[in-house]
Amino acid sequence: MRLSTYNFLTSKAIKGVKVGFPLKLTIAKQDVVESEFNPTFIERLLPRLDWSGIRLAAEVAGLNDDIPAELPANVAENEELLKKLHHLLLEIDVLEGQLECPETGRVFPITDGIPNMLLNEDEV
């Protein structure tokens, strides 16, 4: 699971959960998969992402110092930051770990790189 994908996941489908975001991420095993840097792609992706979720991901992945507290207004001209975001969001691959619902504590395991977001019938 890439950390860009993490940014979209919620536990809102659980009965009674109001927001279900951000999920509490724990990483037991991560890998880095290098990929071609495409600044335009990152720039276009950013408005769809939640900055607090990006910050959380950076913290858990141990890349805290790379990501500023607020999204700078001129990010398009800041190639250095775009590269760091590319690395964090598209190159870090979470292989083992878990996502936890902030409201109910329900755990969604990440196994072999696959987050399991399936719910039982009695949870929805």
Partner: protein, 216 residues
């Protein structure tokens, strides 16, 4: 323009491993590599909907459409699938082919619209949905509806040609423009050995849905 030759793309897609024990209830059969490569190549060359785009694949199975999209230059591709056996093969395919920008989520596609985070997350959605022949009639259009919700540019999908008029009418309600990009004929039963004796080719339409003015 495409960043890879059609022939090369098809060659790669022939290397995508398929379902090991296809589950009939989930309508698990792959998009044949020849067809997958042709339609994806056309999505890119005719409409520019893949290169540099964020592409989502609903019911991604072992990854044929996700992998094809990534080879055509997608910035990133995410697949959604309800069956973890299929996703394990998906992951093996991605690792074996050493493709960097592809991941997947184990979930029910029909619940994705409940999470507004996914709304407009993607530029383009591709899907080869279950056709709804296993006591789940209408599921193909629920996949399209989910796709319309998740995409900001276009949704591409396969449907039985016999449903063409119905689909035209249905998507109008969402203010989505649909057109049939290709008329195909293929055998979807080949993966179920006990069907072999009576399996026949069926007529399938490949659709493009323009969602830029959607109103769901």
């Amino acid at each position: 323009m495409a960043c890879i030759k059609l022939k090369k793309l098809e060659e790669y897609l022939h290397g995508v491993d398929t379902f090991e024990k296809p589950k009939i209830k989930l309508e698990q059969y792959i998009t044949p590599p020849h067809i997958a490569s042709c339609v994806l190549y056309n999505i890119q060359t005719l409409y520019g909907d893949i290169e540099g785009k964020y592409v989502g694949d609903l019911g991604c199975g072992s990854g044929m459409l996700s992998i094809g999209s990534f080879l055509l230059g997608a910035g990133m591709t995410t697949g959604f699938e309800i069956d973890d056996d299929a996703l394990n093969i998906f992951q093996t395919n991605v690792t074996d082919m050493e493709l960097p920008g592809i991941d997947c989520v184990l979930c029910d596609v029909l619940t994705l619209s409940n999470n507004e985070k996914w709304e407009n997350a993607f530029d383009t959605i591709v899907t080869n949905p279950p056709f709804g022949t296993k006591n789940n009639s209408g599921i193909d259009m629920l996949f399209v509806q989910t796709g319309v919700n998740l995409a900001s540019r276009a949704v591409y999908s396969f449907h039985k040609s016999s449903t063409r008029d119905y689909i035209h009418k249905k998507v109008k309600d969402w203010n989505v423009k649909g057109n049939v990009v290709a008329e195909l004929k293929y055998n979807i039963d080949t993966s179920y050995s006990f069907h072999k004796s009576k399996s026949v080719d069926i007529n399938v339409d490949f659709w493009r849905f323009d969602v830029s003015e959607k109103n769901l």
